[in-house]
Amino acid sequence: MAIAIGERAPDFDLPATDGRRHALASGSPAATVVYWTCNHCPYALAWHERLIDVARDYAERRVRVLAINSNDSERYPADSFEAMRDRLEREGGWPNPYLFDESQEVAAEWGAERTPDVYVLDSELRLRYRGAPDADYDDPSQRAGWLRDALDAVLEGRDPERAETEPVGCTIKWR
């Protein structure tokens, strides 16, 4: 099952590396970015800095950013909750929480497929963009441009010109 553009995103309440739980329906952000990522996928790693730059750059505009790892951590220990915490400590923290979807139910409910897989929601938590951060994992100068375009549109009350793109990356590692 996947959520369609315009549809309200299903809620979740997941633990994060910061020791807290984070629910989707929390606070009153102007927009929310939810992206699937993990520790071991080279595509997720290649786009990582661009994604956390977006979290930093849009924080003042009341954009909430949540990263989720849903990979099977038994077969992929590099993606375990402990490994997530170690990574955050090693990297000195991220501007956005890093959530663990151990049951994989959230990924399944949202229809997330890859790492990264990016979702932009408006203030009513309706899906406005889903796909890749930008056109090329190998080109940092693209600065997650598709994601930024979608966020700018949502923050200005417009429909994103590009509402869907093909997510590019490793498949989520299902049990």
Binding site: H40, C41, P42, L45, A46, Y76, P77, Y137, D138, P140
Partner: protein, 87 residues
């Protein structure tokens, strides 16, 4: 990418041997630490660290400029191929 590098170094791209690894047993048997793995004359382009677990996973490469990538640096590949032809 490998075919292009083979052509660029005067080698026959049709001589590439492709091995599909689709289960944990074959990954362990072949010492496969992730996809894609490229070996030139049996030697891994970026030999994995000792003890790195085998398995069906994506592989992380380091480019020459330090960036992370799902593919090796093309120059690393060409260099390995050139070395193989000289050797």
């Amino acid at each position: 990418m490998t075919r292009e590098a083979m052509k660029a170094t005067g080698l026959d791209p049709d001589s590439i041997e492709v091995l599909e690894i689709d289960n944990d047993e074959s990954a362990e048997r072949e010492g496969f630490v992730g996809s894609p793995t490229i070996r030139v004359e049996g030697r891994d382009l970026q030999p994995p660290a000792a003890g790195q677990p085998t398995g069906l996973s994506c592989r992380v490469y380091r480019r020459r400029d330090g960036r992370t990538s799902p593919l090796p640096d093309p120059e690393d590949l060409r260099e390995a191929l050139r070395a193989a032809t000289v050797g």
